[in-house]
Each structure stands twice: as C-alpha cells, then as structure tokens.
C-alpha cells in the first residue's frame, strides 16, 4: 500500500531542488544557535581554550563520520568503524611500542589495518551479498575481539615515543606562529575533510558512490562494476577508521583495546545530522563536519553546565531523531 510514500512526484521534485542546501543551512544554523546558547549560559564556554578542546574532541568522531558518509551515500551502513578504529590503534601500538618500528611505519600499519577491515566488509557486502548491517556488525565484533586478543586485553602505551602524542596534541602552527597554538588534531580533521570532499566531488569513486546510492540497478546496467566500487567505498571508510585509530592512540598516548563500542553510532549520528540521506544518493562532507561539530559542541556545553553524562546522551539522541524528522517533513513538501 501507498502509505509511506504519501506524496506526489510533483511535490517531491520541487522540494528536491532545495534539499541539499536547506539541510546544510539548517544544520549550520543549529550549530550557531547551540554555540550562542552555551556562550550566554557560561562565559568559560567561548574561551579559545574551550573552543580548541571542542575541535579536538570533534577530530576523532569527525574523521570516523567522514568514512561513514561515503558508505551511507551508497545507501549502506557501517557499524564496524568504532572497533576497527580500536584495532587500528592497537596495531599501531604493536608496531611502534612492541616492535619498535618507526612512527611513520606505525601510522601506515594503522591505516592499512583500517583499510583491510573495510575491504573485507566491502567484499562481504558486494561479493557475498551479505546485507551491510549484518556484514559490518560481524566486522564490528571481529575487530573488537582481535583488538583484545592482540593486545592481551592490556593498553599499549607509547611512553618510549613521546613524539607520537604530538601528532594530535602538538601544534605545528603554534611552533610557526607563536600565540596561535591550535592543536594538530584540528588540522588533521579539516585536512581529512578536504580530502573526503575532493574524493566525493571530483573523483570517480565519489561519483559512483552517489550513483550506487541513487539507483544501484541502473548503475549496474550502465556498465559500472558496482561490486568493485562498493567494495572500494567500504575500504575507503575503513581507511578513515584507520586514521581515526592513529589519532585516538596519539590523543590518549595509548591504544585502549576495550574502547570503540558506541563510536560507530556517534559517527552515524553526525552523518545523519549533517543531512546525508540514509536511503542513499545524497550527502555532503561539509554537512558531516557540521554534524560532528554539533554533537561535540553539545557534549562540551552540557558538561560545562554540569549536566550529567547520562542526560547528555539523552539530549544527543533527541537531536538525532529531530534532525531526521525535520528532514522527512521537508521532503514531504508542505
């Protein structure tokens, strides 16, 4: 029956034009409003130090969300990004601390770990035809288990390599321009976002991600090797998880094998708040970055106002539902 699609082609087409822009604007205004609200509520909130810490807190989730954006644009889902991040962190720890390999090698190990996990998820989805939800749920548990096995359930510290921590928390800019000590984490996030935006907007991979999410069958009939590109999208998502793994290891100065559960949902939330459609075909990197910023600004602000952590979760949940609901209303036309 026709109940869910209670709209005519006419209204959907007209509102469609404005869909991307409107959601971005909406998310952006929401971010501004949240920021103004907390600034008024607490003078500490708008201090440069706090703003910087919001940005640092956004970095890891933001990078995870970038990867998830591609996956969701194909109308898929990736539940494994959080634990894959952890596995990548652990592998970096093994390489750098246990094996004493140079830090750049450790970073590459982390990135490759993430990419491999994504590649495997992608193969399960595109070749074995396992639904993305199930395939990545499996990968989520596999990565979590492997993290615990490899680390022997103990954190791996980077105490022998103090430089490692500087990757995130140091400030290259601060060294060059004294007084402007913005942590590297912020630049890594925005750098990763630029790369992601480039891939999505200017490369074949981005184009096919949108095409697959828009109409997978039509894309296949156009002679595009959908299976390969879909696999590549998940591998790309995995690469971003690998990057996030290196980032979180650096930030915590350790690889914490028990970490990771819950990160995937927060990443998905950021993507959705940013206006990427779960039914595929549309989404923007800028939206995702704004979405991630909204979540961390909210978390930070609520903590400053001494709202208990439990309630912070409740509020974040409400925001996610609201964001999607607003999107649905807007799509419905009037």
């Amino acid at each position: 029956m026709a109940t869910q699609t209670g709209e005519t082609a006419a209204t959907s087409k007209r509102s469609f034009l404005r869909a991307d822009a409107a959601q971005k604007l909406l998310a952006f205004s929401a971010l501004i409003i949240i920021f103004i609200f907390f600034s008024l509520a607490s003078p500490f909130f708008r201090t440069p130090d706090n703003v910087s810490s919001i940005l640092v807190a956004t970095a890891v989730n933001g990078v995870l969300a970038l990867g998830v954006t591609f996956v969701i644009i194909t109308a898929g889902i990736d539940l494994s990004v959080g634990t894959v991040m952890t596995l990548s962190a652990v592998m970096t720890g093994v390489a750098v601390t246990n094996r004493g390999l140079p830090i750049p090698v450790g970073i590459i190990v982390g990135l490759l770990t993430g990419t491999t996990a994504g590649l495997i998820s992608g193969l399960m989805i595109a070749r074995m035809k396992i639904p993305p939800f199930i395939a990545t749920l499996g990968m989520m548990m596999i990565a979590r288990g492997l993290s615990l096995v490899i680390s022997d359930v103990k954190p791996i510290y980077f105490n022998d390599t103090p430089v490692f921590r500087e990757i995130m928390m140091g400030s290259v800019v601060g060294a060059l321009i004294p007084g402007l000590s913005v942590p590297n984490a912020v630049f890594i996030l925005f750098g990763a976002a630029l790369v992601a935006a480039f891939i999505l907007g200017k490369t074949v991979l981005g184009r096919y991600a949108v095409a697959i999410g828009s109409n997978e069958e039509a894309t296949r009939l156009s002679g595009v090797n959908v299976a390969n590109w879909l696999t590549a999208v998940y591998a790309l998502g995995g690469a971003f998880s690998g990057l996030a793994g290196v980032m979180i290891a650096s930030r915590l100065n350790s690889a914490q094998p028990a970490l990771g559960i819950g990160y995937e949902l927060e990443a998905i939330a950021a993507v959705v708040i940013g206006g990427t459609s779960l039914s595929g075909g549309e989404g923007t990197i800028l939206g995702t970055v704004i979405g991630a910023l909204i979540i961390s600004t909210l978390t930070n602000g609520l903590r400053i106002l001494s709202v208990p952590q439990e309630w912070q979760m409740v509020i974040t949940g409400v925001i996610v539902v609201l964001a999607v609901y607003i999107d649905i209303i807007r799509r419905r036309g009037k």
Partner: protein
Amino acid sequence: MSDYLVKMQGIDKSFPGVRALDEARFDLRTGEVHALVGENGAGKSTLMKILSGIYRMDAGQIILKDNEVEIPSPRAAQDLGISMIHQEINLMNHLTLAQNVYIGREPRGVVRFMLDENKLNAQTKELFASMRLNLDPRTKAADLTVAKQQMVEIAKALSFNSQVLIMDEPTAALTEAEIDELFRIIRELRNKGVGIVYISHRLEELKQISDRITVMRDGRTIDTVDAQTCSIDQIISMMVGRTIFEAAPEIPEKPSQDIALEVRNLNRGDVIRDVSFQLKKGEILGFAGLMGAGRTEVARAVFGADPVDSGEFFVNGELVQIKSPKDAVAHGIGYLSEDRKRYGLALGMDVEENIALAGFSKFLGRLGTVNQTAIRDTATHYVDTLQIKTPSVEQRVRNLSGGNQQKVVIGKWLTADTEILIFDEPTRGIDVGAKSEIYHLLNDLAQQGKSIIMISSELPEILRMSHRIVVMCEGRITGELSSADATQEEIMRYATQRRVLVSANGEPTNDQGIEQNGVG
C-alpha cells in the same frame, strides 16, 4: 557479409518454475525498426535482456555481423554496440544528466582518478544537440519529466555509438506529442543505419514506426512479418494463438441511481482544485485526461493516501472522514495503483498472501493466530473466479505476468469486501488478450453492484468501458460526458482546457510538463 546485423537462434532460457524461452529466434537488419510483440510473459523482454547482457542464455547462438558472440554483461553488450532502454526509467535521480549519460565512461582529469566535469558537460551538450534535444546537461535527472528522462536514456544509449538499440515499451508513459518526438528520433536513427528493436503493446503504433514485426508467444517465436502488409488482426491472432475480435463498445447495463461515493470540493495545493463528483452504485466512471492532469492525485486523496487541504467525502450518503488508507478500506474503498509492482503487491510474497493482505483481519483467530486454511480457500476461490494463471496459490507474485498480477490485486481488494474500486490505469503494460479479460472483469464487478472509478489515458478504453466520463485538466474537472455522446475529440477538447498555460519562468508548473507539448 550477410545483411543481418544480429541473428539469434535456438535461444533457451529457464527461470525457476518457468520456461521463459524455448528455442526463440530473432534477427535484425541494419537500418530497420523491428517490432517485437507478444503477450506479457511471451518472452520478449527476456530475449532482449539476453541480447543486452543482463541475462545469460541457457542455450543458443547470437551472431553479430557474421561472428558468434558471447554477451556476459551489460558492459560487454555496450562494447559490442548493443544498448537497451528499459521500460522503467533507469536514471540516477541524484546525478545530473551529463553524469547520467556518461556514467562509467566519464572523461578523466590529469590524474586518472579525477573527473573532468567541464568536458563531461560539453560532451553531453554536443550529444543532446545532435539529437536536437534542448536540455541543460547540468540539470538533475529528478527534475525532468518522464518523457524527457526517456530522451536522456536514448541519448545515453546513442553515446555508445550503438549499432543495435533495443527499446522496451518506450511509449508507455508518453503523450501523443511526445510519442511523435520519439518517433522522429527513431526515424533519424534508422536512417543512420542503426538497427532498432521496438517492444510494444500498442499495436496501432507498430504500423507507423516499424518495418518488420516478430510475434512471440509462450517463449517461442511464432513468425516474422512485414509491417506494411500484415493487419493488426493477424498480429493479434498470432499473439494469442486464437482469433479474437476487438468487440464493439460493450458498455454494461445502466447503473442504479443510488450514489455510492460523493466527493465535494476537494482541494490540494495546485494539483487538485475544487473537484466534485458523484459515483453511482454499479457504475463505471471513467476519469480521462492527460498525464499530470491530477487524476491519480484525486484517486489517492479519496483513498486517504495523501493529505488534502479541504474536501468532503460521502459514502452511501454519509459524511465520512478519510484521513488514511485504513479509513478508506474501512469504508469499502480500494485503490489499484497504476504502479502495481510498487504500491499494489508484495512481489516477494505468494499469491495467497497477497490476496489476504488487505482483508487480513478476516483471517485472524481470536488469539491473533492466522487461519491459513481460510486464506487458502479464499485465494483458491479468487484464482478460479478471476482466472488467475498461476501454477499454485503458493507461487510468488513476482513470477506472474502483468495481467495476472493485476488480477491478484483485484482479488486482494475483493477479499477486503471493497464496494468502491478505483482502478488507476488498469491495463497499463498489459497485453491485448489479458486486457480484454480485465475489461470483462470490470464489467462483471459493476454488474455485481460494485462501483468503479477507472482512470485511463487510453481513450478507446475509456469510451468502451465507462458509463460516464469525467475529464480533468490541471487539477480541475473540465467536463463530464455520458458515454452516449462522448467522442475522443470531445474528451480531448476538455482535457486541454487550460487556464494557466505556463508559469513565469517558462517551465511547466506540474511535474509532467505536458503543457509545453500540447496534444497531438
């Protein structure tokens, strides 16, 4: 070199439970339009999907310009110069036209991984210009009318320098003017030496456009005939394997004067404007008009599927609230969508489950358990009375032909004790034989006292079936005719009675964009 572009011989193909093709054959010459006709399930689409690499054949031979070829994928077909334009529009709505046309073959930038969007747009513009298509390559596909989308699909097919172009029911969703435009393009292509396979159910079109006609039935090729010398009656009899004569109008007996449904002052934005009408018990009320006239919107409003701004509904004289399909069903109103596969059926479920779906509460026991025996009995009953051709009530609906799927939907609504049935394009995509069965069925239902609204874009169908005809244009009812004095010309006159011609920006205001083209 022989004068055949393509020769297909001894093609076999089976799907689970169905033998789709049985030693089928087909050939195509350069520079001809070769029509492929047959009832639904005759194997036309399957045969062409094999030629375009979507299905693999079980046995047989495909010869392309004297060489035997393997066509394992759509990509391989394209590389051989074979393109297929599918019945459903296969564009990616979120991409621009240029991105759609060259998907998979985008011009690349300096680095191979990068796209060259400017070149892509320029290339597409050139392609459109060569077809005399006035479209901006940067428009999103979702913003085009169905007809324009189809033109884009053709452009896409041509961009492969196709030698063989297969069109599966290209005119199913087009108006007369749009069909003329399509035919112009087809003729131009033919003159350039392209071989065109034209699958259609509209036999009247074939004489206009095709050179030869091949008829298929039950997975076999019956015969190939010259389009100019063969009569439509001959073609039909080959299709159905028996001679049927297109009967003269068989308008059922006059309905009673009791009013089953009355709609007063229905409004919804600019798609439904002040629509009022009455439907009598046992009447077939035809809704005529061009695509986008608002007929489907009225039907969906009456069925509670879309919210309305204002309007009153009376069922059997009583004012009722219809805010959702559930309300409509409760008042005995059923809606049979033009898009059966999307809205009418759960394709993956079997016949009996589909038949039980709308009246499901009937089959529930006191504890909420499902009475499977009752479902089976009901389903079997309707399979018999509606003559649904299916191996069993446990057959998946997906595997039935279009006409039989339509009958399953009818069975579903009858099970739900529906008194008012709204048929939206009941015979779209249904072949001639099954069409007349559907007509008989509609007549029978009306005789039994069911009240029927029939939306149809085929004027002969409207004229043949309806007691009364309501004509819509731009959301308004512009005319009401009794079957006695209705003619095609009269209906068309009302169907084109426009008030707003074009909006300020020169674009049509509704989604179908018919206004630009007028009526042929």
